[in-house]
């Protein structure tokens, strides 16, 4: 009993530091989502563009972002770019790298979604004289959203975990808070707590994903 009490007391002691780290993790997570989803849509449209230079530029960007580790990109932005006098503060550097990286993945998902709407849907809209934008708004985009939801959900869950990479550039996120406490107090408890907090965050995301998918299950 005494042992349990001692552990509980220790948990209460380190919890503020862990929660503050969770705050940083959530900030990175939310801002990356808010910025990279719209950017991903723009990039997807660019990839399907019939204007060749734009298409090549966008493909090159996606190639680099998916072809190199996110960790490398983070280090490059924060430690590499200052060598050519482009200096980002830590937090902005992290967001910059995350948004560019995630937008590339989202773009590929949106492109696949757009391409999997049958050509006949566009043609039916055309003979009914719907404008391009009306067709997108009422017919195409609702279908794309349903198609991409499972893949977007996967990426969102990955993002929760990938946000832990920011600790290499010295940002105090959840994982770093746990790591510091473990090294200082020589105990596994902080790591277990960190794991539990990640699990809770991801369970929330998965729950939201299931709700959204259920909302779109009224048709097949």
């Amino acid at each position: 009993m005494q042992e349990v009490e001692r552990i509980m007391k220790y948990v209460m002691q380190i919890l503020p530091a862990l929660l503050s780290g969770t705050g940083m993790t959530l900030r990175i997570f939310c801002w990356t989502l808010v910025l990279s989803l719209p950017l991903g849509i723009l990039v997807a449209v660019g990839e399907l563009s019939k204007f060749n230079p734009l298409e090549w530029l966008v493909r090159f960007y996606v190639w680099i972002m998916r072809g190199t580790p996110l960790l490398l990109q983070l280090i490059f932005v924060f430690y590499g770019l200052p060598l050519i006098h482009i200096v980002f503060p830590r937090y902005q550097a992290a967001l910059f790298a995350f948004v560019l990286n995630y937008a590339a993945y989202f773009a590929e998902i949106f492109r696949g979604g757009l391409q999997s709407v049958p050509q006949g849907q566009f043609e039916a809209a055309k003979v009914l004289r719907l404008s391009h934008w009306q067709a997108l708004q009422h017919v195409i985009i609702p279908q794309v959203v349903k198609i991409v939801l499972p893949s977007i959900g996967n990426e969102v869950i990955n993002l929760v975990k990938d946000s832990s990479l920011v600790y290499v550039i010295g940002l105090g996120d959840l994982l770093r808070a746990g790591n510091v406490a473990m090294a200082r107090d020589v105990t596994m408890v902080p790591l277990l707590l960190v794991g539990l907090i990640y699990l809770a965050l991801i369970s929330l995301c998965a729950f939201a994903q299931r709700k959204l998918e259920a909302h779109f299950s009224y048709y097949k």
């Binding site: 849907q121 039916a124 055309k126 009914l128 719907l130 017919v139 279908q143 048709y219």
Partner: protein, 206 residues
């Protein structure tokens, strides 16, 4: 009257349609028959504005065809899966003809009733059989008040016992003064319609 004059079309130098001419009087039905690869669907797509022509004229009552005068019932119907039956029919009248939502829905309900689909108005396309989807597709096209309605292989997705019903439906629509063009390779069906027939053959490669 729908007139097609000296229509030519080739894909990558391969001729598909050459100097094709025909006429359908207003309220008439033209059945276009021929083996696959003869260019039947290409003809329909050109009339519907989904494909460009190389040369020739498409005239409706002496004037070049404008968008919206031609309605299309696609071979696999291309209903919008995310919209209910009623929404499928009412969407374009509301967005394009600028009807109010109420007006558009009233017209849609009226058409669905005529086509015996009123009880399915709140269902989604995946819940319907092939024949039911086809009637929704016809209602959707008619809601835009086309002068000519084109069907691409209207019997291909149907059970044999439903073929006669479509034929009756098409003949029924003729009484409303609608001009209709049917692409098919179903000879029994062509005999049932029993009106003007245009036979086209694949052009020999040169």
């Amino acid at each position: 009257m729908l007139e097609i004059k000296n229509l030519n079309k080739s894909f990558n130098g391969r001729p598909i349609l050459r100097d094709l001419s025909c006429q359908i009087p207003t309220g008439g039905i033209l059945t276009v028959v021929g083996p696959s690869g003869a260019g039947k669907t290409t003809l329909l797509r050109i009339i519907a504005g989904l494909e460009t022509k190389d040369s020739g004229q498409l005239l409706l009552n002496g004037q070049a065809i404008k968008q919206g005068q031609i309605g299309v019932v696609f071979q696999d119907f291309n209903l919008f899966p995310n919209l209910s039956v009623l929404q499928n029919v009412a969407l374009a009248p509301e967005l394009v003809l600028k009807k109010t939502k109420d007006e558009a829905q009233q017209t849609a309900k009226h058409l669905l009733t005529q086509l015996q689909m009123a009880e399915y108005q709140d269902q989604y396309p995946y819940q319907l059989s092939g024949g039911q989807k086809q009637r929704v597709a016809i209602a959707r096209a008619l809601a835009m008040q086309p002068a000519v309605l084109c069907y691409d292989e209207p019997t291909s997705a149907l059970d044999p016992n439903l073929r006669r019903a479509v034929g009756d439906l098409i003949l029924g629509l003729q009484k409303t003064g609608l001009t209709q063009l049917i692409i098919t390779h179903d000879m029994a069906f062509t005999q049932q319609i029993d009106q003007q027939v245009l036979r086209i053959k694949p052009l020999a490669e040169e």
